[in-house]
């Protein structure tokens, strides 16, 4: 702000914009969705002691191939390299509601968690049988089954999987195999929130906008993989820079598309992106056992108004209170043209 006031005193157009947002994510309870809001997931401990995870979600850059493997590795105590996450093939994942509305991990990840927990429950029953004790005395610790106080023996996933598939010594009523699938029907949406702040300078002569500083603090609940979270926020802000400042699909009065090529439709590029300062708070969601809220849209929701507000703030000394998006240099110049700088 000190920088802004000093710039204004020097006659420069410098502005700061703030945006706080609350969004509705993790689509969603089926009653509120047009065609089902659940998600499906399957987890299978193979006879090889490697794990196959199948999800109805199809990540295309969001990174659930990594975060789902992390969740399963954590809960099973299995090395992450031993986990394969299958997705995006309807002959493998027959049903799914896919990625949108920041639901991939919140809804899809929970279906995976439900399936993992079913597998662990069945494994404990088999381990208890092998330990010759009751289910409730068996624990899973660091990928090994133990019955503390009952026996010193430990059973690895490899041993348990062999027992489960060779099926020579199963308790009565227990099916062979170690796999489970689940449909997670969420009871509610989740509500991520955040605050973004942007500082810009507007060139008085050309109307060009330069982003001087960008700060974002977002709350997406628990973060399974902070690097993926940061990537999502960075990408979202980049898209907002385009939306706020130069992306525009133009049709003429006859409905003819005029921006039919990226030579005419301006996309944000690496050189348009400033250094971000990103932070987060963590308020776990009560809606799913992972406590995650989703973060696919946070960047785009917080950033566009923050940038737009910053440009309007920069132009405020000229009495400008509104500009349509995108705030292109020509639009800004036209708004500035008829006004003179009021005394600060």
């Amino acid at each position: 702000m000190a920088e802004r006031n000093a710039a204004r005193a020097a006659g420069r157009l410098f502005g700061v914009g703030v945006s706080t947002y609350l969004e509705i994510c993790a689509m969603g309870p089926s009653k509120a969705m047009p065609a089902g809001g659940w998600e499906w997931g399957c987890v299978r401990m193979e006879i090889s002691a490697k794990v196959t995870v199948i999800t109805g979600v199809t990540p295309h850059g969001q990174g659930q191939e990594t975060s789902f493997a992390q969740i399963v590795a954590d809960r099973l105590g299995v090395p992450i390299e031993d986990i394969a996450v299958l997705r995006g093939d309807t002959s493998v994942a027959h049903y799914g509601r896919d990625t949108y509305g920041s639901r991939g991990t919140a809804v899809g990840g929970t279906a995976i968690v439900m399936s993992v927990d079913k597998v662990i429950k069945k494994a404990k029953t088999l381990a208890a049988h092998l330990f010759e004790t009751l289910d409730e005395y068996v624990v899973l610790e660091n990928g090994k089954f133990k019955a503390p106080g009952i026996t010193a023996r430990e059973i690895t996933w490899a041993e348990l999987a062999a027992e489960a598939y060779l099926a020579k010594n199963l308790p009565a009523g227990l099916e062979p195999g170690l796999e489970a699938s689940s449909f997670f029907e969420p009871e509610n949406f989740t509500f991520p929130f955040g605050a973004h702040i942007c500082a810009v300078e507007v060139d008085r002569d050309t109307g060009e906008v330069a982003i001087k500083k960008y700060i974002a603090v977002d709350d997406c609940g628990n973060q399974i993989n902070p690097l993926l979270v940061e990537g999502q926020v960075q990408g979202g802000i980049a898209h907002s820079i385009g939306q706020a400042l130069f992306e525009q699909t133009i049709y003429d009065e006859n409905g003819q598309l005029l921006t039919g090529e990226f030579m005419d439709y301006a996309m944000p590029r690496a050189t348009d992106i400033p250094e971000y300062t990103l932070g987060s708070t963590v308020t776990p969601s009560p809606v799913n056992p992972l406590g995650v809220k989703g973060v696919g849209e946070a960047g785009t929701i917080g950033a566009t108004p923050a940038i737009a507000n910053a440009v309007i703030d920069a132009l405020a000394p000229l009495g400008i209170v509104h500009l349509d998006l995108p705030m292109t240099p020509q639009r800004i110049w036209r708004a500035m043209k008829t006004r003179t700088m009021a005394t600060v």
């Binding site: 003429d252 598309l257 005029l258 921006t259 039919g260 090529e261 030579m263």
Partner: protein, 147 residues
């Protein structure tokens, strides 16, 4: 797209007006004109190869001349279609005396669509202006040659 061009032709209004209605002259003045045949009174079919060097397209189309008020004004309607797109519109042409010459003021209203509009919109107005300029330059040359 709205386009206004003005040009001076070294001939009197009557002769310029007649030239604008004469297919024999038009055929030689239209830039890239490959064929021009009359299909009726004041109606023509034409094939043009136009564009800018390296990016020319073949267009076939029709033109009609109407609202004739010799020697002051006329309206030209046109429609053309080719690989790169289509164009249709009309031009209001007004002739005013300017000494021994005639000043031709042309106000055109054209709709351009298809590929050239979707990927080449930034050059359409400049190209249209250039083609109009080429046409009037050719007409000037023809008319001063026959003086």
């Amino acid at each position: 797209m709205k386009l206004t061009v003005s040009h001076s032709i070294p001939a009197d209004r009557q002769r310029v007006f007649e030239a604008l209605c004469d297919p024999a002259i038009l055929r030689r003045c239209i830039p890239g004109g490959e064929s021009l045949t009359a299909t009726g009174p004041d109606a023509y079919e034409a094939t043009l190869k136009i564009g800018v060097p390296g990016i020319k397209g073949v267009y076939s189309g029709t033109a009609t001349i109407g609202d004739k008020h010799p020697p002051e004004s006329l309206t030209l309607g046109f429609e053309g279609k080719g690989g790169p797109g289509f164009v249709r519109g009309s031009a209001a042409i007004v002739l005013s005396p300017d000494g021994a010459s005639t000043r031709v003021d042309c106000e055109a209203d054209a709709q351009v669509g298809g590929l050239i509009a979707a990927v080449g919109s930034r050059l359409i107005e400049a190209t249209a202006r250039k083609l109009a300029g080429d046409f009037f330059n050719q007409l000037s040359n023809k008319m001063s040659a026959t003086v």
